[in-house]
């Protein structure tokens, strides 16, 4: 018993020492070749002002049912790409930050209310959000940035987040896998998503207020 305890302590100590070994991992040189793709993919993910409305839009799309949500998964990345291309030829609009925050509040409120919106309105929201965020991400490119790779990264990021979040929300709403296309609104599952939407809306309303009071603080 004592020998086993001794061996266990020695192994634990050796494991802890190994875990703290000060060696750096250089397996993947992300700053070469495809580096700008990863820069583009990560750029929107480091900004909650973009991630929050993306997820809210995905949940809003899920509330409309899988049939309609599929169109958002297609339209949103294309709008991101179009916005990124626009940033190459047009200056950033002055109303961009305010519109971005208004989109956070609007998508959050729509989720909180579990709104059923016509498909053109849903696609229009996805289009405006995609154009704006594509433009904002595209404007972050430096002169040395590989634009094709960077914009491909932004687009891929938008596609992956939108697909995963929509799929997760649809699966969550269906719960037991009843197979209905338009989820019911009677159980606790849509209420949980609606509460999340109200969180996003609250963030959008407050930061929009801050932006209007002191532009640049947000």
């Amino acid at each position: 018993m004592k020998a086993r305890l001794t061996r266990w302590i020695h192994l634990s100590a050796a494991g802890a020492a190994l875990a703290c070994a000060p060696t750096a991992a250089h397996a993947h040189l992300v700053e070469t070749r495809l580096g700008d793709f990863y820069s583009g993919a990560l750029h929107p993910l480091t900004d909650l002002q973009q991630v929050l409305p993306w997820i809210a839009l995905a949940v809003l799309a899920a509330f409309q049912g899988a049939q309609r949500a599929r169109w958002v998964i297609l339209a949103f990345p294309l709008a991101l790409l179009a916005g990124g291309l626009l940033s190459l030829v047009l200056p950033q609009p002055a109303f961009g930050p305010a519109l971005g925050l208004a989109l956070v509040a609007a998508t959050g409120l729509a989720v909180a209310a579990a709104l059923r919106v016509p498909l053109p309105v849903l696609l229009g929201t996805a289009g405006i959000m995609g154009l704006l965020h594509g433009d904002q991400n595209g404007a972050a490119m430096a002169a040395s940035t590989d634009r094709v790779l960077f914009l491909a990264g932004v687009m891929a990021s938008g596609y992956v987040v939108m697909t995963l979040a929509t799929g997760a929300a649809l699966a969550f709403l269906r719960g037991g896998g009843r197979g209905d296309d338009v989820p019911s609104t009677g159980s606790w599952r849509p209420i949980a998503l609606r509460a999340g939407g109200s969180w996003v809306a609250a963030v959008g309303i407050m930061v929009l207020g801050l932006h209007l009071v002191t532009p640049g603080a947000s």
Partner: protein, 207 residues
Amino acid sequence: MKHLVPSARVLLCGALAGLLAAVPLAPAFAHTGSGVALGLVSGFLHPLTGADHLVAMVAVGLWGAQLGNPAIWVLPVTFPLVMAVGGVLGLLGVPLPFVEPVIALSGIALGVMVALAARPPLWVAAVMVGVFAVFHGYAHGRELPDAADAVAFAAGFVAATGLLHLTGILIGVLVRWEAGARAVRACGAAIGCVGLYFLLGAVGIIA
């Protein structure tokens, strides 16, 4: 005593090895403490580090659980939105009197409601919780301009507030059992006492 010596030696060796392993041979860069990360952490901790906020938010969840449908779901959806209105009032610098005393009073009032298992009409409960939400939001909103990242700070404190409601609702599940219902009412009484302590502090009766 003699048979303890080898064990003590093993433990000493283990402790020494652990100590050596814990010595930072290379600097840790895990937490830079800036931007989004700092904003999220400071926002998330803001409602948790103020016991008056914390107990009032848990009380909201407890009361919702006692009231049952539809209050249990109306409340978590609407509270953040009303709180946001209070936050904007704070940002705009709209003078709101007695903010800290009213926040403490919210703990007392909600605690008493839970302790008495009060069942007023839904609109009365909603108005009462809504008024308190404005004051809680106002206090958070005043901090927003100083945040490292305003969006992250707001997301942090809204998420923490929502999770405190959820905590109250989960504790409130106990009301299904008789003993659990009594325990929930006791929680309400304790929350009322915490609120009273903060109210006495806010008006300067205790330090």
